[in-house]
């Protein structure tokens, strides 16, 4: 809430406090900011932004610029990943795109979409040892916000693997025989951690690991109010050169955005449907909410009386 209002007398919301001699006109609907991060009811000096809000904005912009340039702490994330009960036997693979640094990354998206030579080699070697491949590869990619990856990856994956049944390669054949299509366990490739990567690098990884499907977790471009937003991109049979039409996206995964359980539910739905139809992208629409939406299809809001 607006701290500057702490000492002002209680007002009826319908009686805005305004003195025509004051340069700044406050907005009585400022209190709506308890319900949204949007910068509503900022008030005005004439028709312009009051000084306080101008300076608040500039600080937030400065912080967002800084977030773009903070690197991902790979060792910390990797350490936490291996200790999860769903973690594959093989340790996470630490990979790097062809963009050598942040400056190259920002100006050359083509470099960010492909693995560098040693990373590609690392995956190719892995494939030699595991030629049968996997059902699912997970690529954790820094993107434009390492903060988003650092903060949201583990809780999201933990929520996902409460829903998604996993199997080890050893018993995959057995599982295939015994399980129904929807419940069939997934074999999981070693988790891939990628520096200076973009969404499409998941296709390179998917192909090289001989995985049927790739789920990319990537730091989205930081916003002023959300420097920590994680994006999820699903591609069935990812191949280098695939366009966005082949992908399904779940965006804004973070504590103050789409909650982990909700995101996991959507991802589980899309993964299951992608496997059932052997495809992803625009032909695979997200209907995971349909039942909820039909049951609770209200449009009620305070602007329109019931």
């Amino acid at each position: 809430m607006d701290k500057s209002n702490k000492n002002t007398p209680q007002l009826s919301p319908t009686q805005p406090h305004h003195d025509a001699q004051q340069p700044v006109t406050a907005n009585p609907w400022r209190k709506l900011n308890a319900f949204t991060d949007a910068r509503v009811g900022l008030g005005r000096a004439g028709i312009s932004l009051p000084t306080k809000h101008l300076l608040d904005f500039q600080l937030a912009h400065a912080q967002a610029i800084d977030a773009v340039h903070t690197p991902l702490d790979l060792s910390d994330l990797s350490r936490h990943l291996v200790s999860q009960n769903w973690a594959p036997d093989c340790a996470p693979l630490l990979l790097h795109s062809r963009a050598i640094d942040r400056s190259a990354y920002l100006q050359r998206p083509d470099f960010g979409r492909l693995l560098d030579a040693s990373s590609a080699n690392q995956l190719d070697c892995h494939k030699t040892n595991y030629p049968e491949g996997y059902d699912l590869a997970i690529a954790i990619v820094d993107g434009l916000s390492a903060l988003a990856v650092q903060q949201n990856t583990l809780p999201f994956l933990n929520a996902l693997f409460e829903l998604l049944p996993l199997s080890h390669n050893d018993d995959a054949a057995l599982a295939e025989e015994t399980s129904s299509e929807a419940k069939k366990p997934w074999t999981l490739a070693p988790i891939c951690l990628v520096e200076q990567g973009r969404v499409a690098i998941g296709d390179d990884i998917c192909q090289r690991l001989n995985a049927k499907c790739v789920l990319v977790l990537v730091g989205e471009r930081p916003g002023l109010s959300s420097p920590d937003s994680l994006g999820l991109y699903l591609t069935w049979e990812g191949k280098v050169g695939h366009t966005d039409a082949y992908r399904n996206c779940i965006s804004n995964v973070r504590p103050a955005g789409l909650k982990y359980q909700e995101a996991a539910k959507k991802a589980y739905y899309l993964l299951t449907e992608a496997r059932r139809r052997q495809q992803s992208g625009v032909t695979l629409k997200d209907r995971s909410d349909d039942e909820v939406a039909l049951a609770n299809n209200t449009t009620t809001n305070f602007l329109v009386s019931q």
Binding site: W29, A38, S225, S226, T243, D289, L303
Partner: protein, 472 residues
């Protein structure tokens, strides 16, 4: 450079040096004012001198060559076919003898009145518009765009001279209805929202889109707002929404300038035609039947690896051929959203915004601009102030309006409700007349002529606000 005897289609000699350009696409790309996306594509001029020479060479190219030498093959691309098959030779006749340089002179001349510009419109192809823009300064782009008047209508009239409309963009990261309603209230009370109330949904989902469409429809009906709503979901989702009976005003789609770009977006021209028919069948417009809302932006074709070796501004102009086929209410170039790999800084964003607005207007589109930047671009609010002011002078059809410039869903900065009021006040620009009258009736505006707002909360909104924050 310095290849006197090779396969260059265009040559230009300065002193003892000869500059060569392999074909029209190469010449167009090298003549383009510098920007990061063309460097990324490897099509930009290598030196400042080469760019200036390319501009001189391009100025000597006859406009008619663009009808013969197609930059994207006719057989491979339905947008090329659209451009060529729909070209109007009669409309082209008055300027058909001109070169690109001569066309610039004609556009700036007193011969090119508003009605003359309208009469040649169907004879101008996107490539001609792109070519001439490359040899125009910013003030040329502004001056000619201002002479082009493009009107469109649905529940109000957009694009009249002396008017600037705003899209109220109440996005919320989880599509929360209270959050969306809060931003809508804020925007309406800051006199924004006449172009459209348009939500980018957090997730592409038919049921959610349908719900948001109904929510906005109820608000528009309740307050009798002369405006229209749109959920910016994929065109195939909107078609499903219409099939399910949702009250759809406008159909949205992001469009690009090559068939391969649009393939990557998951639609083609037939999809758009089907969607337009579906929206028209609902007959929801009261003063007009422009039912389409398109968004574009330089760099989308390259981003989809579908640019055919063209520069990004030429690809962008070709998207306008798609737009004008479907008589849109609004076309919005989302100029700074794509990021610094395509438009590096405030200077490149500004130039691109003015080019897009000019090309759109010349081709007959109700062209607006999302004056915006991302946090990884070299740009800030001052750059946006500059572009907003320039576009206001140029007669831009509409801009975005959002609380405090901060889009909490798409994570970028665009123009605020306050910014729109600034442009209206310094440039004397009014919202759509039907909406302007509504602002007066609702007592949101205190004085429409002086662009002042009511100091009191208007009666009609008092009860609504009480419902939300009254119990304290």
């Amino acid at each position: 450079m310095n290849h006197p005897n090779s396969a260059f289609q265009f040559r230009h000699t300065v002193g003892e040096r000869t500059f060569g350009f392999t074909n029209l696409a190469d010449l167009m790309a090298k003549a383009t004012p510098a920007r990061s996306g063309d460097r990324l594509a490897g099509v930009a001029a290598h030196t400042a001198e080469e760019r200036a020479i390319a501009q001189m060479t391009l100025a000597d190219v006859p406009l008619s060559l663009f009808l013969e030498e197609l930059l994207v093959p006719y057989e491979e691309d339905e947008i090329t076919r659209l451009i060529i098959d729909d070209h109007d030779k009669l409309a082209f006749a008055p300027v058909s003898h001109l070169t690109v340089g001569g066309f610039r002179d004609w556009l700036l001349s007193d011969l090119a009145t508003t009605s003359a510009l309208e009469s040649i419109r169907a004879g101008i192809t996107p490539e001609m518009a792109a070519a001439v823009s490359k040899i125009m300064r910013n003030q040329d782009l502004i001056l000619v765009a201002k002479k082009c008047q493009i009107k469109s209508a649905f529940r109000n009239t957009i694009g009249l001279p002396g008017h600037l409309s705003t899209r109220l963009q109440p996005n919320h990261p989880t599509d929360d209805l209270t959050g969306i309603a809060a931003s809508m209230l804020d925007g309406l009370l800051y006199a924004n929202g006449d172009a459209v109330i348009g939500i980018n949904p957090a997730t592409d989902n038919v049921q959610q889109a349908s719900r948001l469409i109904r929510m906005m429809d109820e608000v528009i009906q309740h307050y009798e707002i002369p405006t229209q709503s749109c959920v910016l979901t994929h065109v195939t989702n909107t078609i499903e929404c219409i099939d399910q009976g949702a009250p759809v005003d406008l159909v949205f789609q992001s469009i690009g300038g090559t068939q391969a770009t649009n393939d990557s977006f998951g639609f083609n021209l037939n999809t758009l035609a089907e969607a337009q028919d579906a929206a028209l069948s609902l007959q929801r417009g009261t003063v007009g039947n422009n039912v389409m809302y398109f968004e574009t932006g330089q760099g989308s074709a390259l981003s989809a690896n579908a640019h055919h070796g063209l520069d990004q501004q030429t690809c962008e102009a070709r998207a306008y051929a798609v737009a004008r086929k479907f008589d849109p209410l609004l076309v919005n170039t989302v100029v700074g959203f794509i990021g610094p790999e395509y438009l590096y800084d405030g200077k490149e964003i500004t130039r691109a915004g003015l080019e897009d607005h000019f090309c759109g207007k010349l081709l007959g589109l109700p062209m607006g601009c999302d004056v915006c930047y991302t946090n990884h671009a070299e740009a800030d609010q001052n750059d946006m102030d500059n572009l907003l002011t320039l576009l206001g002078v140029a007669g831009c059809t509409f801009i975005m309006g959002i609380p405090g410039s901060d889009d909490i869903m798409l994570n970028y900065q665009t123009t605020s409700f306050h910014d729109a009021l600034y442009a209206r006040r310094v440039l004397g620009l009014k919202p759509a007349p039907e909406f302007d009258a509504w602002l007066a009736k609702m007592e949101i505006a205190k004085n429409n002529e002086q662009f002042t707002l009511n100091h009191q909360l208007p009666d009609a909104f008092q009860q609504s606000l009480k419902r939300m924050i009254g119990g304290q």
